[in-house]
Structures are given as structure tokens and as C-alpha cells.
Amino acid sequence: MPLHDVGYRAWEGVLRPRAAAVVIAGTGIRLAWKSRWLRRVMLFAWSPALMFAGGFFAFEQAVEDGSIAAGRDATRRLDGFGLVGRLVATSLGGQLDDPEAARRIVWSRLLLAFMRAPQAVLLAVVVGLVAPRLIAGDLRARAWLVYFTRPVSRSDYILGKFGVLAAIVTVITLLPALVLWLVGVLVSPSLAVALATWDLPLRIIAAAVAVTIPTVLLALAYSSLTAESRIATFAWFATWVACWIAHGALAGADMAAATRPQGGAAVDADPYAEDPPSEHPPSEDPSAVMPRHAQQFNWLARAAGIDNSVDRWAWLSLYHAQGVVQAWIFGIEQRFVVVLPPLASLVAVALGSLGVLLVRVEAPARA
């Protein structure tokens, strides 16, 4: 018997089980953080932010030394930063007269590109590796008995598990994007830029929420459908890949059709042509025309919303649907009719997943 054994004593305090979701989330985060590979991936997830910080720095340097106003030569100089430089240059397009307007365009697109291109993919990978175990592991270890024999409701449980993944999403997507904005403010000529771009942090948060809710709920729904986390992992990645392929095939067919002349034969489009064929009429939006040097980085251009062709199949793929909605949140995509199908798709995924979760999480206890 231990020397300090005081026997069993009554609890004199008051039980207040009102923050069960916080307890579940906190413990889940602590358990997930024990994984060394997760810590490494989370650290690695910040590395793209360095590259994009370079983009902010390059742009602000150009503004400071006045080369922005000097015309298109500035964009060539910015090419030195590789992908990000091209993005900046493309964002500037032909409207370089007003640095303030250019700043908003560049920052929004840099942030969107950051959240879309590296972070969204990393997020899908990390969520796919962490989420399946969250509920499937509980089902396998019969841990649901630990929860549902205590004053824990279904919503507490779901919120708690959601919180674990939301924390990961925050660390991978939200925090680096906010830090990027802060870096932009710090390297800008005046701190007044923070006031001029005050809405960007809010847009970043909204864009992160747009990613988090459907992604996390879908991942948790898969996890709740099986006690084998491997099956949930497979289903998660299979869904992403299948949706991506389906979207790619249909969007590719659309693009092929768009480049086909009235006569019937497809045009052998020259990606380096000064004026590539487009289904859209020229507009005043600098992003409407895509300079030839940016075309070899179509993926980044699409991620940043520079390619403003209508992706009518975006709703098919979670990744692309999120991209369109995020572009809308950043004010880059302003055609609501384009946003509506992907937005509806995300809402449907979120609601459907929530429905599955509500039915499944307590099912073993009721069986």
C-alpha cells in the first residue's frame, strides 16, 4: 500500500461537465502531437511560407524603390523569385500605376496561392493520416464506452474530434497565412498598410474555415464508418484522387473543346504565344490576360485565381470546389454564378458528413 494512500474519499466540489468538447479536443491534440512524424510534417508545412514571404518582400521592395511605377520591366525583375515572382508579375499585369491597388491584388493572390497550392495539398495529406484514427480508433478500442457512459453528448464528442483536426488545419493553413500577412505589413514601407489591408486577415480566417469544415467533417465521417482506420485512410485518399481525376478529365475536355476552332480541328496551341486563345473576351481585369511566361505554371496561376476561365466541374472535387470558394472569399472570383455550384457542393458534403457522424458516433452504444 502506498504511504500516501488516503483511501477513497468523497468529492466535495461540484461537477461541471460543460466543456467536454474542449477536454476531448485537448486530449486528442496531445495524443496526436506525440507522433514524431506529425510534428515533422507540421514543421515542414511552414516551409512554403518562406517562399511566399519572398514574394511579399519582392513586391514591397519594388514598391519602395519605385520600380512598380516604372512599368512592365518591374515584373521581369520580380521573375527572379521563380514561381512566386512569376505570380507577382502576372498579378501586376498592366496596371502598375497604383501601388495600393496592385498591393491588394498581389497580396490576395499570394495568400490564395499559398492556401491553395502547397497548404491545401499538405492539409489533405495530414488530415488523411490523422483523422481516420480519431473515431475508428475509438470504435476499435471500444473507447466510445468511455465517452457515452459519462455526461458527454454526441455533439460534445463530434466537436471534440473536430477540434483536434481544426487545430491541425489552423497550424498548417491559418497561422502561416496570417504570419504571411504580418510579414507583408512588416516589410511594407509603412505600417499604415495594415490598416489598408485590414480585411485580409478576416478573409484568411474565412478561407481557412471554408477549407476546415467540409474537409474535417468528411474525414471524420469516413472515420466513423469503420473500426479499421486503414480503410478510412484509403477511402479518404481514394476520394481525393478519384474526384481530382474526374474533375481533371472533365475540365480537360472543356479546355480542349474551347481551343477547337469552329472548323473542327483542334488548334495546336502555342503555350508561349503572346495572346493565347481564350473563351473569354478581354477584360480590364489584369488577371484576365495571362502572360506567356506564366503559362508554364498554370497550376499556380489557377491556384491564385489568375486563370479566370469558368471551371464548371469544380464542384466535383473537394479541392477545386474549395479553391473557387476561397477565391471568392479573397475577392478574386466575383461571379457568384461561378461560385454557387462549388459552394453548394461543399455545403452538401459538410451536411452529409455531419449527418453520418450524428448517426454513427453513438451507434455502438445503442446497438
Binding site: 494512500d5 477513497y8 468529492w11 466535495e12 461541471r16 461537465p17 455526461p151 458527454v152
Partner: protein, 331 residues
Amino acid sequence: MIDAGTEPLQERSPLPVRLERVEKWYGRRVVLAGVTLDIPPGITGLVGPNGAGKSTLIRAILGLVRLAGGRVEVCGIDPAVAARRVRQLIGVVPEDDAAIPGLSGVEMVQYAARLSGLPCVEALRRAHEVLDWCDAGQERYRTVETLSVGMRQKVAFAAAIVHDPVIVILDEPTNGLDPLERRAMLGRLVTLARDHGKTILVSTHVLRDVQSICDRLALLVRGRVRLAGSIADLTGSADRDLRLRGSGPLELFVARLTARGMKARLAGDGDGVLLHATDPAAVVAVWEEAGRAGVEAWALEPERRPLEEVFLAALQAADDADLGRLANAPA
């Protein structure tokens, strides 16, 4: 203290758990068929063959299943209406391993305490305190998936009682325990019931455990309560038989009693003599004859039927009743 509402619990219902005509169906299969059962403070054993509905009954008490009919009250609260408040009052040790992989034993108990509403630091303090009481030792720092069966059972028990519940429900609490651990676990249950006024419901197949610690018993067969009452009443002899325990010439002793016109016979289990004595004078005569026969008697006590015998007889009666019901059912 448990914040379960403004009214004192005892004023609302004198009984910690009350079930009235509880019915539960899974599809077309009846699992609980009008169960009416009161569970008073003390230790109540819930026994029955596999598939009798014991686990479903426990889930009904916890408000985990939607009932087809009837009513459950836990300290006057209906779990169907306020399941969270009811679960605050209850601690459950499930039959199967139920733990969060990756947590150590003490973290597991602390986690359970926090889920039940204890503040973080207090939860850790009480987790250690309760694990000390359960004699968990240093193994509490190992992750739960690496613990032995007995240690896991201790952790599960500690997690169930860490928030000082009014009612403790245990499903097969001595599963996988060695004899010493088993005895210690039963001792803790008795302490909780006797010294701390807990209401304890033990669902088990081990009738020996029920007989050794339970005050009351409820036998569930095919969703019906076939037997309920105090252990003393259920195992007591209807014929008011006595058993004399002792050593010496027991055959001679039996012969002398028979000669005096008393019913007496050697116990079938070889442990003393069974006799029928209805009045104090007969008891005095038994002692006298024992002395004359040279039997060294050390106990004369009411004969108790083994619980297993009671259990089997009740099962047989249940079978007969069901057969009768089938026979009388309209074609």
C-alpha cells in the same frame, strides 16, 4: 457533490434506480419485456444467462437506448429526458476493455474525471488518490494498451469511481482477475457500499461473487425479471432446515435425533447434518443430542441453498412458464 438539479435527490425518489415495465425491442426480438425492478442502496447482483438483456438494461439505466415502453428513473431523473445528468450520477465499469490508446493509466483516470466534470488539477489529484486506493502502483504510468488485464480492470474501476458517483454499475468486474485481485476488488465494492453509501449494481455470471458480497439479487431471463429479492430470502430454506456443522460420529447423532422423532440426515456435501427444527425446544434437543453422541459441534445455522441451485431452479421455472405460454397461445 453532484450538481444534478435544484431539488435534493433523495426528496425526489428514495430509490437510486427504479425501472417500471421497461420494454425494449431490437427489430422483432424482445430484449426487455416489461422489466420492473427497484435497485436500493447497497450491492445488487444482476444475473442471467447470456442474452438475457443485462447489458441492455444497463444501457437503459444510462439512457443510451430508446425504450419501446415503460420508464426508468435514476435518483428521480428520467435518463430519456436528461441523460447527461443521469450519467453524472453513475460510474460504469464496462465488461469489455474500453480505453483510449496512447493514454497512461493515470491519464486515463484523469481524462474520465475531466469528462465527468472535475477541474483539471483536481482530476489529476483524485486520479492518483483513487489509483492508490485501488493499489495500482507504478504501473499507472504505462500506456493502457500495455497493461495486464488485472491492471486494466483496476484502471477502469478507478475511472468509474473517480468522480464520486452515487451509483456504480459494474459489468463482470472480476473478469480476468486472479483470486487475490478478485477478493480485493470485491472488498472495495463492499467498502463503497457500506462506508460510502453507494448503490452498486454488479452484472456477473459468477454466482459465488454475488453470494459473497450482494445484498440483493435480480435474475433476468429472456428480458424478464424472474427472481428479485434479498439474497438471504432467496437462498433461505422454505422448510426452515438447519445445518449443524461439526465433527465426530455424525451417523450416531443422526440416529439419536431420528429416534427422538426429528427429521435429520447427513448433508449431501459432507459438511455436517441437515435437520428440521421448528421450535426452540427442538434446537435445545439438538444441542443435547450432539453432546451425548460426542459430536463436536461449532455451528448451528439456517440452511442456505446454494445460489446456483436457486438460479437453476428459476431458469427451469422460466422455461416452463414460457413453454406454458406458448402452449396457451392461440394458433
